[in-house]
Structure formats: C-alpha cells, structure tokens
C-alpha cells in the first residue's frame, strides 16, 4: 500500500518512463529472471501434461485412474502443500522483518509440511507399484508417474534448497544475496502450488470422474 502512495506523491512529469530508467536494481533483475525460469518450468510441465492427456486412456488393459486414485490421501497432500505455501509466506514476512527465530520457525513448518506431502506421495507410488500398477505397466501409468513424480522431484529440490537457505541465514545473516535467494525460493514454492492445483484437477479429479 505504501508503495502506491509513494508513487502518487511524485510529480509524474519528472520521471522518465520505466523503460527508459536505466538498469533495474539487482533485486528486481534477480526476481524477474527467476520468474522467467518459472515460466520455462511451467512450459516443461505443460509438455508432461500434454503427454498425460494423450495417454490417459492408453491403459493397455491395466488399471485406470478411477481404480487407483485414493482421493482421501490426495486431499491431505493438497492441504499440506497449500498450508506450506501459507507458512512460506509467513517466512517471507519474517525475513523482511529480519527476525531469525520466526524465519526458522516458519521455514521449519514449511519443511515439515513439504516432507509430509512427499511422504504421502511416495506411499501412494509404492502402493501402486505393489498393486501391479507400476509405470512399466501401461502408457497411462508411465505418463502418470512422470507427471506427478516430476512435481515430487521439484518439491524435493525445494526442501533441499530450503535447508541450504536456513544454513545461509545462520552463517551469513540477512545479507542482500541471502534475501534475494529467499525471495526466489518463495516464488518457487508458490509456483509448485500452482502446478499442483492443475495436477490435482487434471489427474485426480478428472481421473476419478472418468
């Protein structure tokens, strides 16, 4: 809110257009570059979604999504991930306030929620593999495991990243580089939520309906 007020106070005539203002500050450039990366990552998921859409009925006589998916477990997974996005947001506020204890607390909760999500996903995968529904069984299952597994790999990478960042906060404090990286991490974590919402809809909801 205070940003908008600040801009209104400035005489507009005195400012050049934003495009002519010269190189942007490092923080803006880094966050912007990371947004571009996230968009590219979403494009990669788009390709996996497309493959899933093409192959979802190619069950080759094997089990279908409706037979396999356990909505209850997926609902808990979703709740964990969405809640972790909220605590990640609280962590960002703590970082802005340069409050170490609150940062560790909310990062810890985020980590635990992410880990629970991963645990449930691994349990789901293991259960399917045990029930003769491994990715080698049919093209549908190949696409399912790849799409959902790719998201899971992203969550795992996020957990490692978060752990490394906490070590950086501990060793280096809230210096500019560390704060930029934490900003990128929270963008990443929220983006994983967005992908999960699509995934939940396209794979689990539509899959159960089919």
């Amino acid at each position: 809110m205070n940003i908008a007020v600040a801009i209104d106070d400035v005489d507009r005539q005195a400012l050049p257009p934003a495009s002519e203002a010269g190189p942007a500050p490092k923080r803006i450039v880094v966050a912007y570059g990371f947004w571009i990366f996230l968009l590219s990552d979403i494009v990669m998921f788009a390709a996996l979604f497309a493959a899933y859409a093409v192959l979802r009925n190619a069950t080759a006589g094997g089990p279908t999504g409706a037979q396999l998916f356990n909505q209850g477990s997926v609902a808990i997974e979703t709740a964990c991930l969405l809640a972790s996005s909220y605590t990640c947001g609280l962590m960002s506020l703590a970082v802005n306030a340069r409050n170490r204890e609150a940062t560790y607390l909310f990062a810890g909760i985020t980590f635990v929620l992410g880990a629970v999500f991963l645990g449930l996903e691994i349990r789901e995968f293991a259960g399917m593999i045990a029930a003769d529904a491994a990715p080698q069984r049919s093209a549908f299952l190949s696409a399912f495991f790849t799409l959902v597994g790719c998201h899971g790999l992203h969550v795992s990478a996020g957990l490692i990243w978060l752990a490394v960042m906490m070590a950086q906060v501990e060793l280096k404090g809230f210096r500019a580089t560390v704060k930029r990286r934490l900003l990128c991490f929270s963008l990443f974590w929220h983006a994983l939520d967005i992908i999960w919402v699509w995934l939940f809809t396209v794979v689990y909801l539509m899959g159960a309906a089919a």
Binding site: E20, A21, V29, G33, D41, A47, L55, A60, R137, F140
Partner: protein
C-alpha cells in the same frame, strides 16, 4: 556387478580403420594443443582470464571458438556423406558401411544445429547485446559462464562417442520407435540424449539470462523502441528458447525413461504413442529454426544499415515482423509431418499458417532492400554475405512455401528436395548471417579487422559451392531420391550427386580461405589495426574502445533516440555522448569463478556414466556438481572493485585515440 557398467574394451572400434583414423586425429589435435599450452606456460593465463571468466565478451568469444571447431567437425561429416553418395551407385557400396553412414548423418545434423549454429548465434549475442544495450554485463554473469561450459560438455560427450562406443544411427531427430531400446540397443541414442539434455540446460540458462538482460538492464533512456534491431531479434530468439527448450527437455526425458526404466511413452506396445514424440519434438523444433534465424536477421539489419550509411528502413515494421514471427513460430510445427495422417482440416490449418509466416519474413527482405536503396553502399565482406543471403534465402523461402502445400508435401516429404530446402535456409540464412556477424564484429572484439581479400574469396567459394552442392538436391528430390541413403540403384541420380560433391569441395575451399583469413589477419594485425569505430557504426558498441575494457563503458551512455552513437556523431560532438567533465567512479565487476568449468566437468562425468550405466560414477558426478553449486552459494566475495583511477586512465586514453 560390473563396476564399469556396459563399458568394455570392445566399445572402442579398433576394427574400423576410418573411425580409428578420425579418433587418432582428434586425440592428436587435442594432445598437441594441450602440450603447446603447457610448453608455452599459458595455463595460468588461460585459467584466470578465460576459463573462469564471467565477462560476456570473453564468453561470447569462447562460444564462437567452439562453434568454429564444430563447423569443421560437422563439415567433415558432410564431406564423407557426399563422397559416399557420389560413389555408391548401382551395385557399388561405397566406402562407408550402413551402420557407419547412419552415424555420420546423425552426427552431422546434431552437431551443425546444436553445436555449430547455436553456439555461434549465442556467442555473437553474448558479445554484442550488452554492448549495444550500453551496459556492463549480462544480468547473471556466472550463470552465463555455467551455460557456456554446459554447452561445451554436450560437445565433448558427442565427440567422445566417436572414440568410445557409437553415436545415434537414428538421424538427428531420433524418432521412436527406432530410437527405443528395442531397435537401438547400443549407446548411440544415449550419447545423443545426454549430450543434448546437458547442453539444453545450458541453452535454457542462456535464454533466461538474455530475456532478463534485455528487458531489465538497458542504458538510461534506451526505451524499447530505441533498442538496436539486433537486440530485438535477440530478445525474440531468447523468448523462444525459454518457451521451447523445456519442451525438448521433457520430450527427451520421456524417451530416456522409456530407454532406461522401460516406460511406455513412445513404445510400440502397452499404449505408447510414437507420433507424440514427433509432435513434441517439432513443437520445440520449429521455434528452434527461428531461434537460429532471427538473430541472423538482426545481424543483417545492423550490417545493411551501417554500410549503407542510412538508418534502417522501417524500424518499427522490422520489430513488428520479428515479434510476429516469434509468435507464429509456435503455430506451424505440424508441417514437418503432414504425412502423419491428421485430417485435411488440420493439415490445411498448418499449411496456411506456414504460408502466413512467410509474410513478415518478406517484409524484412523489403526493408533491407529499401535500406540499401539510395544509400552509399560499401561492399565490405559483411555486406557480401548479406546480399548473398538475400538472394539465397528468398529461394529457400520459396521452396519452403511450396512444401507448405500439403499435397505437394506428400510427394516431397523426406526427399532430397526437403534436404535442399532446409540447407538453403540454414546455410543461406543462419550461416551467412553468423559469417557476416563474425566479420563485422571481429574488429570490436580484437582491435583489428579481418583481411578483406581472403574474406571475399571465402564468401565467393561458399556462395558458388553452396549452389553447386544443393541445387542438384532439389532435382534429385523431384526425381524421387529420399534422404539418408547409404547406396542407391538408380544410376540417373549419380551425375547430380557428383555435381553436389564438387560443390562441397568448393565450400571446403571457402572454409580454407576463412582459416587463412584468420591466420593472415593475426599476422598482419598492425596493418589492420582498427579504432573503436572502424565501420562508421551507428549503435553503442562502436562508441567504446576495441577491444572494449572489462567494464565496457566508463560511464553508462545516455540514450535519446535510435542509433544513439550515430546521432552523437551527427551533432558533431566529440564522437561520444555529450562530454561534460566526466565523473569517474569505481566500478563493481562480478568476480571470476571456476563454478561453470567445474560444474561442466561433473556434468560430463555424470553424462558419461549414465550413458554406460556406471551408476556409482553417475552418483559421484551429481554429488560433485551439487557440491560445486554449494561452494558457489557460500562464497563471501562476489564482486571486485575496479578503481576509478584505472577506469579514468583507460577512458582518457580512448578519448585521445578518438581525437586522433
């Protein structure tokens, strides 16, 4: 368990004299270069100034060096193919057995697209874009270095395949089911996939870096409509990289899962769908064509405007055409396989879109012609390449529009007509473009021009050689000859293939002239010495010294219009931006780091291990790469300060030079 996975002594093809000779030559070259560097004691210099450099100019130069070496490698594959097809007529089998010939054409395509054209274009963008934007570096200098070295990793893996194991025998597109484990059980496809996955990560990093650089770091006053056209085309090209390369990564990941873990994305059984690969491949592949050609269009725009002594005709329409192509390039992919059997409506849509995309390209050609019209054109080497491009590319474009008609394409699909078409646009467009750029910006990079006479000789050899090598392929395509034939029975084809072989020899003479040009120029560099602005340039890169200092500009230029440098010169001000007494400040420059080089080393280790199923080594490589990343993340000093005195001393000397 075997500690070395699938790797045994039999992986080295001792029984194939041609492969062993090529391997011996490659090893000998590498060893002698390393020995030379050691003997001269250049290692510290190389390590500190180049291998660990995060300076966009040095990274650009290294990309181009890689591209030139890979041009030689890819071209020797071309000679082998042309020689084989010139002799293997009737009952003759030529000198290359099928399994070797198949590797040669696959390697040729892969190397020329991914490891020649891409690094050349990316190298030129790296060198030029920050200078044209009037800034000191890319948005992410270390990421830039990592990207370079990952590209080099892919190149290294591809070349290792020559000596150890084999390369893909599937063509450069590696369509399944042929590329599945069932039909390609060897390591060739794995070399292909891992080399391209690793270098593809590098390319994606480059794309992100350029988009952020161009959109977020420009000199004060440089609004979007004041950017040089080359920057616009670089922006379009890198937007395409960001939007297209992840699709390739995902597609290759699926094929890898099929091959390594028995998944069924593209397999012939259990519901796999091979045509999905073909679709996904070309959803990346067609934008890739424009990733390569758009920067070349930008180069021609700069060259034509500079050497006609006029502003570019229709700057706004040029920008619009570039961005329209950028969008439309995602709407034409299906024209690569009209024969798939989609409905007539689908084929019709993609046929029409393919014709539509020719329109903005036509706009560009007219803009270049009108720029030259009424100008005082200086026929330097870059201009020759540009004019050669305009003629050649228009022919290639027209054959492309011909194939955009689905019924015609059903006849021409996978024939040599197609091969002639895409060489016509890639050589006539991309290669001529990067050669124009190489001659145009060389003096900026090294402070002396390239020799004009050898440059002209090289151009004419390439141009004439190109026509003699590829026009016969159009004829052969119409005669019904398909691509990738190791031998053929129809003797009526042979004269045309002999002619094509002659053309390749002439192109070889062109390459020889280029090598001589470089050697001659280096030897007579004092005579060819060029100041900051050897061509009477228009854009900001010519306002700084040649070669530019590490910080590019002592004071960031202030831009008020298109062709900023030209307008300063027109106002008869001392060939610079308005010089008040300059207030020199110390400059923070990013610190050199071995992160890129070390990461790439581990990437090669991991890639090689995965290709040969040496799992412990793959794990070690991955851990090594992660540790490198951590070491980088935890470093304390990120920038070094260049003292104001040093900046001032250099800049004052440069001003004295301009005054002279």
């Amino acid at each position: 368990m075997n500690l070395l996975g699938k790797l045994t002594w039999s992986a080295i093809p001792f029984d194939q004299p041609i492969v062993m000779a090529a391997t011996a030559m490659m090893v000998l070259t590498v060893v002698s270069v390393l020995a030379f560097v050691t003997w001269k004691g250049y290692w510290p210099y190389l390590w500190e100034e180049w291998l660990t450099s995060v300076d966009h100019k040095r990274i650009g130069v290294m990309y181009i060096v890689l591209a030139l070496i890979m041009l030689l490698r890819g071209f020797s594959d071309a000679i082998m193919m042309r020689a084989q097809q010139a002799v293997a007529a009737g009952g003759a089998q030529g000198y290359l057995p099928p399994e070797h010939f198949d590797q040669v054409f696959s390697a040729h395509g892969t190397i020329m697209i991914f490891f020649m054209a891409m690094p050349f274009v990316i190298g030129l963008m790296n060198f030029v874009v920050p200078l044209q934007l009037g800034v000191r570096d890319m948005a992410f200098p270390t990421l830039n270095s990592v990207a370079l070295w990952l590209t080099a990793s892919g190149i290294l893996l591809t070349n290792i395949s020559l000596a150890i194991g084999e390369f893909a025998k599937t063509g450069w597109v590696a369509y399944p089911p042929l590329s599945e484990l069932e039909f390609s059980p060897g390591v060739g496809v794995d070399y292909y996939l891992w080399a391209l996955q690793i270098s593809g990560v590098g390319t994606l990093m480059t794309g992100i870096n350029f988009v952020a650089t161009i959109l977020k770091t420009r000199a004060p006053g440089m609004g979007y409509m004041r950017m040089p056209v080359f920057c616009w085309t670089a922006l379009a090209s890198n937007l395409l990289i960001v939007a297209a390369f992840p699709i390739l990564t995902a597609t290759f990941a699926m094929l890898l899962l099929d091959r390594y873990l028995g998944f069924h994305f593209f397999s012939t059984d259990a519901g796999g769908n091979a045509m999905m690969y073909v679709n996904l491949f070309w959803v990346w592949g067609h934008p890739e064509v424009y990733i390569l050609i758009l920067p070349a269009f930008g180069i021609f725009s700069e060259v034509i405007a500079t050497f006609s002594g006029k502003p570019l005709f229709g700057y706004r329409s040029m920008v619009a055409a570039t961005m329209v192509i950028c969008v439309l390039s995602f709407l034409v992919w299906l024209h690569h396989f009209f024969t798939m059997g989609a409905s007539a409506n689908v084929n019709g849509f993609f046929g029409v879109m393919t014709m539509v995309i020719a329109v903005p390209t036509g706009v560009k050609v007219f803009n270049w012609l009108f720029t030259m019209y009424g100008g005082r054109v200086r026929f330097t080497v870059p201009v020759l390449w540009s004019i050669g491009f305009m003629v050649t590319f228009v022919i290639g474009g027209m054959t492309g529009v011909l194939m955009a008609v689905p019924p015609a394409d059903f006849q021409l699909h996978n024939s040599l007509f197609l091969v002639a078409h895409f060489h016509n646009v890639i050589i006539g467009g991309v290669l001529f473009g990067v050669m124009a750029g190489y001659n145009y910006w060389f003096p900026k990079a090294f402070g002396f021009k390239l020799d004009e006479r050898w440059g002209i000789a090289s151009f004419w050899c390439w141009l004439v050689g190109f026509y003699i090598a590829f026009m016969p392929l159009y004829v052969l395509g119409l005669m019904g000859m398909t691509r990738r034939m190791q031998h053929y029975d129809n003797l009526a084809w042979q004269p045309w293939l002999l002619a094509a072989a002659v053309g390749v020899v002439i192109i070889m003479a062109g390459i020889a002239c280029q090598i001589i040009q470089l050697v001659v120029s280096i030897r007579s560099r004092e005579r060819l010495r060029a100041g900051g602005d050897p061509w009477n340039g228009r854009t900001l890169e010519w306002s700084t010294a040649s070669p530019p200092p590490a910080w590019n500009f002592a004071v960031l230029p202030k831009v008020a219009e298109i062709d900023a440098y030209w307008s300063w010169k027109q106002r008869a001000q001392p060939a610079r931006e308005p010089t008040q007494a300059r207030d020199y400040k110390a400059i923070e420059a990013p610190k050199n780091t071995p992160t890129g080089f070390v990461t790439a080393f581990f990437a090669v280790v991991t890639g090689f291990a995965l290709i040969w199923h040496i799992w412990w080594m793959a794990a070690l490589g991955a851990i090594g790469a992660f540790a490198t990343l951590l070491a980088f993340a935890f470093r304390d000093q990120e920038e070094i300060e260049i003292p104001a005195v040093q900046v001032a001393r250099f800049d004052l000397a440069h001003q004295v030079e301009i005054a002279r």
